[in-house]
């Protein structure tokens, strides 16, 4: 019988200026790339959430919260689809000129 793996989290928010999705990094900054996120075990979660809240209060990011992740190949992967879509930095469908180009390629 294996011990249950600890539940892991990363802290996410939106950047104040451009609104884009960001993740809390190990050095206390924020990155658009979830691969750079600080993965937090159960013992450190309260501290990380509090740090995020302080960054919100300091008007650096907007509405931070913790999301559950698993680590795959060294990279955190969110458990919920919603957060996986956010971590991909855009919709799961092509948009704008890329969508039209993709359609043109399909019709060829």
């Amino acid at each position: 019988m294996t011990a249950k793996a600890p539940v892991l989290h990363v802290i996410t928010a939106n950047a104040l200026g451009d609104g884009l999705v960001v993740f809390l990094t190990a050095d206390g900054g924020w990155s658009n790339d979830i691969a750079e996120a600080r993965v937090v075990g159960p013992d450190a979660l309260a501290e990380a959430v509090a740090y995020g809240k302080a960054q919100h209060d300091a008007r650096i990011v907007v509405e931070p919260y913790e999301i559950e992740v698993t680590v795959e190949g060294g990279v955190p992967v969110p458990v919920r689809l919603r957060e996986r879509i956010r971590a991909e930095r855009g919709p799961t469908v092509a948009y704008g000129a890329a969508e039209i180009a993709a359609r043109a390629a399909n019709n060829r």
Binding site: L16, G19, V62, P91, Y95, R103
Partner: protein, 552 residues
């Protein structure tokens, strides 16, 4: 088209300056998010899944070429080269930087546009029939009244903090293309026996988690009493609507709990008190505003185009487009044409900057400079001479905008869903795309006939699934996307809320399920003329249940 007067222009310009200051204070750290959020929402700025989102009002869905070009410019300069036309006839940009939004709003103010009251618990952008002022079946153009309502409701001090948001729609024809029965107030412009203009007034319709059809509380309200009557309705709602529970705060709940008779009594009592006051519409003012919406002088009856029949015969795709995407115009020799934003496999309602420019150019050169946004997320050229059909069609083909599917099974309404929206539970766009591809063959679509599929990614029902002939609601079930189907909804004059057919379907199953429903309809319809909706109303759920779930 309506043109701002000095009051309108000053008001919008001042508002941009005010919001610029608020944004600066937010970015410099002076304002907290809690302080700033209500301010940004009052200016149409949301924070969505990936970024800020700016929702721009398109009053009653009417745009000039100049305005459309400015939207294209904003998409190109400040966003990612596209925008999303919504079921409220508005336009959303998905990627604006907060720091750029004051500049965007300043650019919009130059062309008489803004984002005020596109969010928050206030009276939202008033919507209207997208064929208004052009339709052959219209009693009168509803847009002058929508404009009068816009002026009355913009920053109306009494109604800026309602229990919940409030949506008004106006139609000027018996055939309801504005879905008035699923609005907080629905107005049906008509004439009485003496030929006077007035309104049938509907109250308390809406979709969301508690879909309800509106109740008609007055069969004929004289034109001059429009504002006093609406003010009376809003006043009763503002006083008695629930503020303790967000999900029970819309006027539909009040109408339901109070009963149509009681709410009618209260509205009529209040109206009796104020109807002879300052809100009575002066006839001269109605006429003054009506003139802004008059048909362009140049729209005169024309003889039919003798070359059109040959051009249609020579090009089956053009012929299909004319047949499917144009409707009769009130003036001979003209049509209203739908520019489909539902390319097969595309994102419903999206248009690129280049496409917006292309539509603006075509409208300016050939269609009297007027464009509409429909609540079905398409664009319309309301006044198009038949002689220009071919050249406009060719222009649309070049811009990838010539899909001949208006009203067909691939003309799908879909909300942004979990691909963009912070509230969504499931994706809408990929489901719409896969259904569109499944039914993409043009001959098959035409054989199926009129069929409205509407998809929402959550219970808030922005994709109008409750009034879809086939409605699809995305939910999250054990971490997976799941799709619930309802049948028989309709947003027209014979409005109905769809019935949930049974257990939901997985992402893998949903397109097959829709196809099973469509195939059942085609097999069981009385004739090719019997539409899906008519067949469903005749047959009931049983054959569709059997097709989906097997014999009971």
């Amino acid at each position: 088209m309506y043109r701002y007067d000095e009051f309108d222009q000053d008001f919008v310009t001042d508002r941009v300056a005010q919001f610029r200051d608020q944004v600066n204070r937010r970015l410099s750290g002076e304002l907290t998010e809690d302080q700033f959020k209500p301010l940004r929402l009052q200016n149409g700025v949301y924070l969505q899944l990936h970024a800020y989102m700016l929702r721009i009002a398109v009053p009653y869905g009417t745009l000039s070429s100049r305005q459309m070009r400015r939207l294209a410019h904003v998409a190109r300069r400040y966003d990612r080269g596209y925008g999303h036309f919504t079921t409220r006839q508005n336009l959303q940009f998905n990627w604006p930087k907060l720091s750029d939004i004051p500049d965007i709003l300043a650019e919009l103010a130059e062309v008489e546009m803004h984002a005020i009251q596109t969010s928050g618990n206030c009276i939202r952008n008033v919507t209207a029939d997208h064929f208004a002022g052009a339709a052959a079946d219209e009693v009168a153009d509803p847009r002058p009244y929508a404009e009068i309502l816009r002026q009355w409701s913009s920053l109306h001090p009494e109604f800026l903090f309602l229990p919940r948001k409030f949506k008004v729609a106006v139609t000027g024809a018996e055939r309801d293309r504005a879905a008035i029965q699923v609005h907080d107030i629905g107005l049906h412009l008509k004439r009485d026996a003496d030929g006077r203009l007035g309104f049938a007034v509907y109250v308390g319709g809406g979709q969301g988690r508690t879909p309800m059809l509106a109740k008609k509380i007055r069969d004929f309200l004289p034109e001059e009493d429009l504002l006093s009557y609406c003010e009376a309705i809003l006043r009763v709602y503002n006083l008695s609507g629930r503020r303790d529970n967000k999900y029970k705060a819309r006027i539909k709940i009040l109408v339901h709990e109070m009963g149509a008779d009681e709410i009618t009594r209260q509205v009529e009592d209040e109206w009796e008190r104020i109807r002879h006051g300052a809100l009575k519409l002066p006839q001269g003012e109605v006429e003054r505003i009506r003139e802004y919406f008059a048909l362009p002088e140049a729209v005169r009856p024309l003889a039919g185009d003798p070359t059109l029949a040959a051009a249609r015969a020579a090009d089956p795709d053009f012929d299909a487009w004319v047949r499917q995407n144009t409707v009769p115009h009130a003036v001979a020799g003209h049509v209203s044409a739908t520019i489909s934003l539902k390319a097969i496999g595309g994102t419903p309602g999206d248009a690129t900057d280049a496409q917006m420019d292309a539509v603006a150019d075509l409208a300016e050169r050939y269609a009297y400079d007027e464009i509409r946004v429909s609540h079905e997320q398409n664009l319309i050229l309301p006044h198009l001479p038949e002689t220009a059909l071919k050249v406009v069609y060719d222009g649309l083909v070049a811009a990838d905008l010539a899909t001949a599917n208006a009203g067909l099974v691939t003309d799908i309404i879909a909300c942004p869903g979990l691909d963009y929206c912070a509230l969504a539970n499931a994706r809408s766009i990929p489901v719409a795309q896969r259904i569109s591809e499944r039914f993409g063959d043009s001959a098959r679509q035409r054989e199926i006939g009129e069929l409205k599929i509407k998809i929402s990614g959550c219970i808030n029902a922005c994709g109008h699934h409750h009034v879809g002939h086939i409605g699809i609601l995305g939910v999250e079930k054990k971490g997976e996307e799941f799709y619930q189907i309802s049948l028989g909804g309709s947003g027209d004059e014979a409005a109905s809320i769809g019935d949930i057919i049974g257990r939901g379907f997985s992402t893998e199953e949903i397109v097959d399920a829709v196809e099973a429903i469509v195939d059942t309809y085609v097999a069981q319809r009385a004739s090719p003329e019997e539409t899906f909706l008519a067949a469903y109303r005749r047959l009931g759920q049983a054959p569709f249940k059997e097709a989906l779930y097997g014999a009971a």
